[in-house]
Symmetry: C2
Subunit: 407 residues, 2 copies
Amino acid sequence: MTSLPSLPVLADDDSMLSRKFGREVANYFSGSPLNRVSFLRGEHDFLNKAFAHPSASFLLMNGLSPLGKGRSTLAYVGRDAVLPLIGPEPFKQTEAEQIRNFNSTVDKPVILFLGLDEKNKGFSFKEHSGNPYFAVDVTPRGTFTEQANGVIQTVEKDGIAFITGGRHMNLSAPEAAIYAQARALFDWNARNPFCGGCGQKTMSVNAGTKRVCPPTDLAGVSEGAEPTTRAECPTRAGVSNLSFPRTDPTVIMAVVSADGSKLLLGRQSRWPPSMFSTLAGFLEPGESIEEAVRREVWEESGVRVGRVVIHSSQPWPYPANLMIGAVGQALPDGEKIDLGNDPELEKAKWFTFDEVREGLRNGIAGLDEPAPSTLKEGGIRLPPHTAIANRLIDAVINGFLTLTPKI
Amino acid sequence: MTSLPSLPVLADDDSMLSRKFGREVANYFSGSPLNRVSFLRGEHDFLNKAFAHPSASFLLMNGLSPLGKGRSTLAYVGRDAVLPLIGPEPFKQTEAEQIRNFNSTVDKPVILFLGLDEKNKGFSFKEHSGNPYFAVDVTPRGTFTEQANGVIQTVEKDGIAFITGGRHMNLSAPEAAIYAQARALFDWNARNPFCGGCGQKTMSVNAGTKRVCPPTDLAGVSEGAEPTTRAECPTRAGVSNLSFPRTDPTVIMAVVSADGSKLLLGRQSRWPPSMFSTLAGFLEPGESIEEAVRREVWEESGVRVGRVVIHSSQPWPYPANLMIGAVGQALPDGEKIDLGNDPELEKAKWFTFDEVREGLRNGIAGLDEPAPSTLKEGGIRLPPHTAIANRLIDAVINGFLTLTPKI
């Protein structure tokens, strides 16, 4: 059996309500040990002090690969290791000053403030305390290529390297959550160097969680002269979500037959042989979660779903999804499988709970892993515990449908 | 009491499971009567035939204001009314041909295919049938300003006009869902005329649900000559979500005290006097729904939440949110209110269920409506039934916390 990374578990308190609500499911990539104190990201006095504090840790990523000790532990570095790339006081200027000094010909690495580890209160600011965590995107690029390469060469040493390939699902759950936060934000920043509203270059602010389209540019302006005014941009006025990171809500669902005895699973042609999983798809504008579940199941398998219950959620940083896990129930006359709508699946099939139970017991493996040696002839492969698909399947097979309310 | 638009209710089937799962909550702006058949949006043979069919209905929007009869009913027009703007065969070319013929100096109105109304099967394509619904953004703009103004003048007549102002929450639930889908997609297209990856102009494809960054441009090219090759763009290779509509997951939560006897509500300073509502905020990259609920409640009110249960969801097209409604329970030692973190709220307060019940009975009004005449001295105003905030508050006050499992 594949080893299960330790998942964060909420302390169960003893009040009547918590017993009634049942146990919350915390999926892999959630459960960050950091307090994001998101309201402090624009306060450069805070960022400055947190950055300068000896307890500050820095996660470096090169092309979205995190620095690690081996493949299963993140390796943090101290501030000194990144100074050649970002300088000693990257938050010295206020955000307004940084925007005024924007120069579209100078590239700058994205620096994220991830949060405070409140279990270790080495650093304090007003009423908040905890060791600060930052992340720096050291991918060599544009005008800082040389400095980034220098940092990369310095930090890689015996057993410490940027972990390339795969989805980094060997990390412990708390580290996976920190990695997910950093990866999602670096990726979003890297994908959005230009403004969707006007096509001009944007810059990262708010400790890496926002991009603004500056009104002026120092490109080609001589020292001390006034910056050039840029073309107008609709994002500079009024409310706009253009400059915030995107997270795409995605539905993923374990669909049971009307009598609750069978489970609907599907497979894509590019998957390894005998691999099956739950159906999934993007929620669209103007849809509720339940509607998206019913639409996606019908489009991909022809099965018509009635009741939908939300089970749990999982942040999925490949690149920017929120997986919303649900259990759906087919309508009594809607169980017929028809792949003729959306050709996304190669196969969709109703499995008995016994077949699925056998898969959970002997067929668990990641997409990029070899078939488990325990997999029986004719048996199915299922996704690992770190995937919400596994948690949904497991929930349905192991009691979610019984009379005891699980949520 | 404010009138409640009729909400779509799922047929309750009689299986054991559906009784156990309880009743699904369908919020306003969800419950579209249309089948989106999303997999047909790229098939121009289908779009062509649906567009040409006499049963096709067209919803027009001018600056996001829909054409309506009065303020509470959408007014659809036939194809002939929009031909001067979009021509008789807007889907005649395949999508690949349209991309090859991209000309960045020619503006085109966005045309959405919304779906098929399967209750009225006037039109058929392969195994799918239903009256087709389209929407056209007739906002005068760029090279089609004159034609758009012409269409606008033709369609406005006695009692038929573009409904400006407000949130169109007098529409019936099915019409509100159609409006939400169209508004969200028009708004996204309008906000993203340029590519975030390279800064060049993009074009709407896939019946308005996708924008691509074309590799070539006919701008300035003489008739019959080859198009110019544009600068490279990272979105043209590999997986990218840049060119899909964005929907921002947002958490909104009714927080009860540890003993389940009080409800936490807050107010923003710009709201009308005595108006309160549930707390809410954007989910961030790398967060589960439950984590986002706990973070937002703590940041905005200082209250620390333990257990979180998801209640229902609501598409919210202002501009592009998925409201994920939850009920949270404060930790026994976490009930102290502290507004010193995120200064978003002017006030947060624990209310007894009796105070909230009185508000639900006599204090319901929208943000842009006057205070209800029934509002008592010292009583609170609460949001209307069309808002998920109201549904969450109502659920908590009316039995969600009792031993009968509601979900």
